[in-house]
Amino acid sequence: PTSSSASTSIVNDFNQDTLQQRLQGLIDTARESWTYAIFWQSSIDDYSGHSVLGWGDGYYKGEVNKPKTTQSAASLAEQQYRKRVLRELNSMISGTPAPENDAVDEEVTDTEWFFLISMTQSFANGNGLPGQAAFNNQPVWLAGSDRLLASHCERARQGQGFGLQTIVCIPSADGVIELGSTELILQNSDVMKKVRVSFDFNNGGDM
């Protein structure tokens, strides 16, 4: 993953709230148990002039029956690192100094961490799961740890390492919607229809 300098953006302050509502609606009303939804926004990189997918917005729901520990449970040092990063991010957002003591902090789960680091990622056209979905204008549906692990896309393998069993990327107007779950969710057309209706901003949507 590389950081993007893309600046051509459809997501302004106003419609990011609308986008958030749609992402939240998408998974809060779903029959399936999705852990998160991300909108990867297509834009033009200022330097290269190439199309790139970068973070547009995301909604993290979490797991319904979250296990205390997972197979890929982070080590104590890793947990301390995650907590420190979260404290610093909290401090940056709130504008107050980060507290020294982390005794009260809850464990930063694998999927929370995966969601957080997604904010730093971007994908060139055709690269990675979102880039492939956008380039081919076709959904990518990976269900099952083995399929994620066998994928040639780093993001799929990374997701598997953080406990995901299903990752779906569905192209939409101006970007790609990614859904992830720690549960096995088999491909179904309802999800794809729902995404297309909710995120087709140029045809019936009001973005």
């Binding site: 997501v11 990011q16 926004q41 917005d57 909290n90 940056m92 957080l116 904010m119």
Partner: protein, 31 residues
């Protein structure tokens, strides 16, 4: 930092707030 794009800053703020809410709701000390 201050150069963080606004969309990511808003996403991050929302994520951290929701996380805090989830923690409060599962805390044994929550009313």
């Amino acid at each position: 930092n201050k150069d963080l794009p606004l969309s990511r800053k808003k996403s991050l703020k929302r994520f951290l707030e929701k996380r805090k809410e989830r923690q409060v709701s599962v805390s044994p000390y929550a009313s």
